[in-house]
Symmetry: C2
């Protein structure tokens, strides 16, 4: 990928000498900062912006590592072929009019994909705005030249975006406001070849990138993406477009993206430790905070000391921290003693620390210094949130002292700032130079501080390659479609899952004998091939309590089923919490394990969570901890708690089964019952693809 | 209250000639805009800022309608007495050091409250920043003089705030940034006398206030507040500080506020149609939007047409609208036809309307005009959300045309703007002049548009005064503490509630006879006076299916209970969805009705909701619609749906019971069972205060 980021020479095919044209702006942007050779290509001109213009790619002198293609969509394929002939390793296609623009464009894009696969040339785009690298001053993009107005403000945050907006107008906006810079911004477009994985891999190794923000509408190589993310040593933040049904439909027409299963994707990204964002500027704010404080932090939840000049903002900050990765720190007697040095006698020190009365007595700098120093020295405080005002009331703090104090204590420092416009600009510049994040809205400051503590260490991943459980292949051989409940559970039992005791019976007498062996009351089920919804078909009979009843039910079931129908006798498990566990094969992510609540609770409490298989024990425990209804899992109103280790083993086994058996499309264990006896699979279904 | 807002003369007790002192800044602020008489009072000076200074209140000439008291806290009581003597109708006490500052201050504040109650003088504060009225140019506050920098930008939004910050630094901040103005800002402080109700009542009648935003840490007169809010003909938005336990603790030390029960308060504010906010600037943004589009709008959810130049922002906007009061409009064939006039042929018109390709062909103004005109003409579109960029790419729209188009169609128009800093300022000013709201962050624009459609018409309230149900007073007479289940249900039955059939029995034979009359299986319960948790005490026996069992259980229960113990035989209701309904007497709000889910679901699905009694049928139905688990109420997986009308009758009856019986402290019907037979109260408890 390096030839995209650091090419020695760039050919611009479709360069233009007409201001306002993309082929003009691109040349302009290249000339502002790119120090390698720039070769405009266009048979119409001999010279563009003082550079020699070449009639064709073949005539361009060496070295050319990158071609940027600005010609109309119907010429692109031909130009790419010329790139291949010329031996250029990479091409960026910025023009649109491909898969996002109807059937013809889709075919052209497919031809490009084929060309890339066959020739080995890497293609970036089409329908994209290329690459901006503020540190190298590379703008490989036709973005409006106003982007240079403030000289490409830089930071340690790089972005991967599936939207020209984020590498165009958004970038111009944030840069011109002087709030935040970026390191590299990579606009992917339709991802005919180069995708988020390629770029992410590059950025994870890039010394000029400390945090990566992503706006994606689709994830092309799901499994590789999750693997890259979970192994990343840098904070990753993702704004996923198209999470709603209407959003997904809009995404498909935007970059021809299939958004995939939003719930599954969101769940796997949690497994991989990717932090979510929901809006553009918010994503960048979170990234910026994480680039400064990449962590992960030692303590979770983060215990925050709040320094405020207004009770109201202290209270609202405290409210924000409920149910978050943050909590209000309990300050120690030493801290209280230090605060008493500046507090008026009537005011008992507490956190949030309302310093306004102290400011009136001692002024802003001294009061802020004493308070922040005390919080930084407090072992029960993990981070400091400053509320500041510039523009009167003697509230201006000595930012340099505060920043040094926090740095020395190695504690994240965040500031919410209010003030007059000129004062705010000055304050922001000073804070940025001192290296801590500042925000205009209180909630955003807490949200970003939260992200710092929400980031957790990477989960241990599976070291061994899962092996198929013995006997499973034999049971699956020759089968197709949905396996019946009994066979499904036999497969699960071979994988070590606890399944309910049961027996197929072929006569009423055998049913009674089985029931006597398994114990009353019992359950009798009719297994009719092809009929998945047994309950709805009246084929599940509970509470069978006597031999007479057993015999009668046997006959009834036999009578309503087809000739292939079998009767299954089960021990009736004691009531308990119903879980649903299982596995799916997703086209993007492959084998994934599911864990959630069953029955009415599933509807009530929210969706099951997923993790990509194979799972380590740690990942399985994490999956359980992400499932809805944690209070219920912990044992509710005297119910037995779930044995999380045993459940984790089941989830690992389900993942291994789905991962090692290509034929398996779906596994549902519903319910997996939690009762006094532990965990037991009461019903199950395996579907082969 | 008018003497606070429009006094003819103001005496400033504690005026100062020392710049930097509150008594100086206040005089400065008054002189900038107040056109009535200003009378500094301070025996030390003869003149302050060119005004005659009086040695005492007694010597101040008429007219004096308001005294602003800036003296230290221990002198305040004496000054208020002088105000009473002087016949001044209102005093604002801006100094702190009262209930928020320990026991001594609390006692002084109590003395002030007594003084107000006895003399009739209205006291505003203490510990507050008074009043700012931008239209009258009244700054009755010691706020820093920088507030005048941009001449007090005005709007139709008034604020009631229990925090000096919001009427001080926050105000300076927003005004200096030129984003938003305000009409009146009223800082309440400790509310020794004047409270949010007094001020809200004034603002609801104020022609210069079109929407009211509130930051409150406590609600002093809960019942009056809810009544005012639900009768309001203006949009109300509330940021409630202290909703979390830690936030509530901080609120108590800030303005000596008891935050009250956060869940109850939040629920009653929903009943009253108050819209929630969570952050300061966000509250003002929402208010500003509602002042422009006060509604309520005719359609819910609001169907939004999105005009975007970037697929990504269209997609993310669509994502934001899931589970909101908004949805993406389905545009009509006519609208599509109009869009085809400017869209390239390959691009099928759809909403969100991505106009970038059309802008490249026709330029920004024409494309925006055609698109917005089409959406405004579309009967399926209720509002238009514009995405705009100023600073290149030919994207600048003709704002005047767009504003006129939306105004003519009477559809809310919102804009999200990106751009270079100078262009943004210009854009904002132009949009403000044209009267539509613009936002820097996409989520905020959707959030504020959502608030416009979240506002619903006021619920019909109860016209009649509830009367006690016949016989109830007799049953309650002489009782105290917790009534037993049977008596509780007798009371409820008198109020028209469906209760389970049951009978008190005094022998095993009577138990069997009762069971035979009520039908098997049955439930037998032991009622032991003072024992509320029957289940935990083993006094509830289910599934009694035979006379032998019934007789045995009777004897067992009798044996474990005290001599006062009674045995209750009930028909066992068929299983179903368990609701909890009831009523509480809250110290702030009086009788309130509760509705929620019972059993495990209560824990899982969230808290019960409340409404202030007495309830109208409409309010009761609204309460049901706010309860958690709506899918379950609608009948889940074949379960019968809740009869909402019947449930509403029950809620109305419970409210009337609690409202008309002063002795009742709490009523719990748990469970109120929903099954094939309808609704039935299976267990209940009434607690007398």
């Amino acid at each position: 990928m390096q030839f995209f980021f650091e090419p020695r020479g760039i050919a611009v095919v479709g360069a233009s000498s007409k201001p306002g044209k993309g082929g003009y702006d691109l040349i302009y942007n290249l000339r502002q900062g790119f120090e390698g050779n720039i070769y405009p290509v266009n048979p119409t001109y001999e010279e563009i912006q003082g550079l020699t213009c070449y009639p064709s790619l073949a005539e361009v002198p060496d070295p050319v590592d990158l071609a940027i293609i600005m010609v109309p969509n119907n010429w692109v394929e031909d130009v790419v072929k010329q790139c291949v002939d010329r031996g250029i390793p990479g091409a960026m296609i910025q023009a649109g009019g491909f898969a996002e623009a109807g059937e013809e464009g889709r075919q052209t894009q497919e031809a490009l994909a084929k060309l890339a696969a066959e020739s080995g040339i890497r293609l970036w785009g089409p329908n994209c705005m290329g690459l901006v690298d503020t540190k190298a001053k590379h703008v490989f993009s036709f973005v409006a030249n106003s982007i240079w107005e403030r000289g490409l403000p830089s930071s340690d945050v790089s972005l991967i975006v599936q939207s020209g907006m984020l590498s165009g107008v958004f970038l111009i906006d944030i840069m011109s406001h002087g709030e935040l810079g970026v390191s590299k911004v990579c606009s992917l477009g339709n991802k005919v070849d180069v995708d988020e994985c390629d770029v992410l891999e590059y950025l994870l190794a890039d010394p000029e990138t400390k945090a990566v923000g992503m706006y994606l509408e689709s994830i092309k190589q799901g499994r590789r993406f999750v693997e890259l993310c979970r192994g990343a040593n840098k904070p990753l933040v993702l704004l996923k477009g198209g999470q709603s049904a209407r959003g997904a439909a809009a995404a498909q027409s935007h970059t021809a993206s299939l958004a995939g299963d939003g719930a599954l994707t969101g769940s796997l990204l949690k497994q991989a430790g990717v932090l979510p964002a929901h809006d553009f500027k918010q994503m960048l704010d979170i990234c910026h905070s994480l680039a400064i404080y990449p962590g992960p932090q030692a303590h979770h939840p983060g215990r925050v000391g709040i320094v405020t000049y207004t009770g109201a903002a202290g209270i609202v900050s405290a409210d924000f921290m409920e149910n978050s990765d943050l909590e209000i720190a309990e300050i120690t007697p030493d801290t209280k003693k230090a605060l008493r040095e500046v507090y008026p006698p009537w005011m008992p020190p507490a956190n949030p620390c309302d310093i306004y009365p102290a400011v009136m007595m001692h002024g802003g700098p001294k009061t802020y210094n004493v308070t922040v120093d005390a919080l930084c020295a407090d072992p029960g405080v993990d981070a400091v949130l400053l509320h500041t005002f510039s523009g009167g009331f003697d509230l201006k703090p000595d930012l340099e002292h505060l920043a040094q104090s926090a740095q020395k204590a190695n504690k994240p420092l965040f500031a919410w700032m209010q003030g007059t416009r000129a004062a705010i600009d000055e304050f922001r510049a000073e804070a940025q130079a001192l290296g801590f994040p500042v925000f205009r809205e209180l909630y955003r400051s807490v949200e970003c501080l939260n992200a710092v503590f929400a980031r957790r260490p990477a989960l241990e991943v599976r070291a061994d390659e899962p092996q198929p459980a013995e006997g499973v292949a034999g049971l699956l051989a020759g089968q197709a479609g949905a396996l019946d409940e009994h066979v499904s559970k036999q497969v699960l039992a071979l994988c070590g899952l606890p399944v309910v005791e049961e027996q197929i019976v072929s006569s009423a007498d055998e049913a009674v004998a089985a029931a006597q062996r398994l114990g009353w009351p019992m359950v009798i089920k009719g297994l009719d091939p092809g009929l998945v919804h047994k309950t709805e078909a009246g084929l599940v009979r509970l509470d069978i309590a006597s031999p007479e009843q057993a015999a009668q039910v046997f006959d009834e079931l036999k009578a309503v089923m087809g000739p292939q129908g079998q009767v299954l006798v089960q021990r009736q498990a004691a009531a308990g919490l119903e879980l649903i566990v299982g596995a799916v094969k997703d086209p993007q992510f492959g084998a994934c394990v599911m864990c959630g609540l069953g029955g009415v609770l599933a509807e009530a409490l929210g969706k099951a969570q997923f993790a990509m298989a194979p799972l380590s024990r740690t990942e399985a425990l994490d999956l359980i901890s992400r499932a809805p209804g944690q209070k219920l899992l912990d044992g509710f109103r005297g119910a037995p708690p779930v044995d999380r280790e045993a459940l984790a083993q089941i989830l690992v086994a389900l993942g291994d089964l789905a991962y090692t058996q290509p034929a398996i499309q779906e596994i549902d264990v519903n319910p997996l019952l939690v009762n006094e006896d532990g965990l037991v699979a009461v019903d199950a279904s395996i579907i082969l693809g």
